[in-house]
Amino acid sequence: MSIIEVNGLQKEFFIAKRETGVMGAVKSLFKREFTKKEAVKDISFSIEKGEMVGYIGPNGAGKSTTIKMLTGILVPSSGDVRVNGIVPYENRQENAKNIGVVFGQRTQLWWDLPTIESFELLKAIYRVPDKRYKENMDIFQEILGLNEFINTPVRQLSLGQRMRADIAASLLHDPAILFLDEPTIGLDVVAKEKMRTFIQEINREKQVTVILTTHDMEDIEKLCQRMVLIDHGQKVYDGEILAVKERFGKMRTLVVDLEDTSKQRFVTGGELVKQEGNRYWIRFNRDEISASDLITQISQTHNIKDLTVEEPDIESIISRIYQEGFTEQQETVQI
């Protein structure tokens, strides 16, 4: 059985309509109208033990809503959720023992106290045996270097240190599943890299299942083999990251700077995606046309001052999927 099973999950919210103006405010005191918002519509997926899955989508796509339903603090409107065999919202406290949660934007540590105090508190909350506590703290020290700031009050920690402490705190009770919501937000390059290495090591050593939501595509690319892509509350893609790269990785973008654009001429086999002044971005499929063919076509009528060929990174692939869906287009463009 999969460690996480989600079937036909739906969540709709009713949002009170606010009317403008004084009269509107008075009216809303007595009668309120509600609009229905479908945050998650019919999402299904399952995740195996030990997997690291990137759960991504643009703002407002329904990511947090899904995560909240998996952690049990939100009841689905319909559909089934099972986390480690438990229905989270029916048994929130039991579910809590199996999961660890890190919100990049919040902290679960006690702001005013030295970091170690929060760990002791969590030890009591999750009833971590002394021996296990010591072992885990040793691991955290080894990989995260916790000891350098363990006696510093949380409010005095740097963001990087606080994130390290937070992620360690979420793992103290050896949860089977770890939810990471933007764990690298606001961190500098070095701290981000450290954080990723730590997540990888934890996943490998403890077989923790990791679900990662982030807007940082580098996080996804470096950590996950699989991604679930959602948009407007629906699943757009679920599969290997490599497969996406394979599929869209054939696309290249030719960037040319032309000297003179007055002459009209058709280029076939490429798609003009952007133009700024005399600079043109032409996307093409390398299986269908070679870069040199394209350049030859253009150079017949224009003087090319400069040119580069860009390979797509996962970020641009994903932003393209958001914008255009999963189709590949070929058309004739005019430059």
Partner: protein, 267 residues
């Protein structure tokens, strides 16, 4: 046992946290004493040299105010209303809901820690000195002390339930200023914290008698100064126990509704 140990850890950590805010202890102590002097002066003026009013001696009345301000200090060291509002406002309440503990209990035990710190570092030493140097009446037998402590503790728990319930209304309202005003009004007047219930006009006294607030100040202090004695003490403790049960049930009801609202409507 493990449960208790977990909540007890909250008490210990809250105790430590209070130690971080030493300045707050001093400022709170300062304002506590200012109000003590103020109400002490008002009552001295009202008695205007008389030995007795409404069957209560001046010394007993002064003791009433001093004990009341002591209990005020104890109660104000726990701040569930403020805590819960902050958690709801910042959205951190969802993190609390994700933990394997009961939220209202967790805050109660944390409050024990804050109260203990404030009592040990400020209230007990200061009020010990006050009783030493002022002409006040102390209970003469040990039983009265025990009943007083028991009654004051019940009062603390009732106040906690009421205050937490008011705090939880944040879940249902955007603006809570009005709610807070009602709470603080009831806490200062209807509880008998500055005016004993026996000085109330008949109708107001009756109202106050049928509300839980008198359990927080009026009943324990009356036991302390001997206005309530003998079998009346059991009656008073019974009333407090009754209100504790009622307020606790209301708290649970409101908490269930509030957490249900979070999990259904997303807060």
């Amino acid at each position: 046992m493990g449960q208790l140990n977990m909540y007890w850890t909250f008490t210990k950590k809250a105790f430590l946290r209070s130690a971080v805010y030493r300045f707050e202890v001093w400022s709170r102590t300062g304002s506590n004493l200012i109000f003590l002097v103020m109400w002490g002066s008002i009552w001295t003026a009202l008695y205007a040299g008389r030995e007795e009013a409404a069957g209560v001696s001046f010394t007993a009345m002064l003791t009433y105010i001093v004990v009341s301000k002591f209990l005020d200090g104890v109660n104000e060291a726990g701040t569930p209303l403020w805590d819960i509002q902050e958690k709801v406002r910042t959205g951190d309440i969802s993190l609390e809901l994700m933990r394997p503990f009961d939220v209202p209990l967790r805050y109660l035990f944390a409050d024990f820690g804050s109260v203990a710190f404030y009592m040990l570092t400020a209230l007990l030493p200061i009020y010990f000195l006050l009783f030493l140097f002022m002409d006040l009446t102390l209970p003469t037998d040990g039983f009265t002390w025990i009943y007083f402590i028991l009654s004051a503790f019940l009062g603390f728990l009732i106040r906690y339930c009421v205050e937490m319930t008011f705090g939880l209304l944040t879940f249902f309202l955007v603006e809570t200023g009005g709610i807070e005003d009602i709470f603080y009004f009831a806490m200062s007047l209807l509880s008998g914290s500055v005016i004993p219930l026996w000085f109330f006009p008949g109708w107001l006294e009756t109202i106050a008698m049928y509300l839980p607030f008198q359990s927080i100040f009026f009943l324990p202090i009356s036991i302390f100064i001997g206005q309530i004695s003998g079998s009346q003490i059991y009656m008073a403790l019974g009333i407090q126990l009754f209100w504790l049960v009622v307020c606790y049930l209301i708290l649970r009801l409101v908490w269930n509704r509030a957490s249900h609202k979070v999990v259904v409507q997303g807060g």
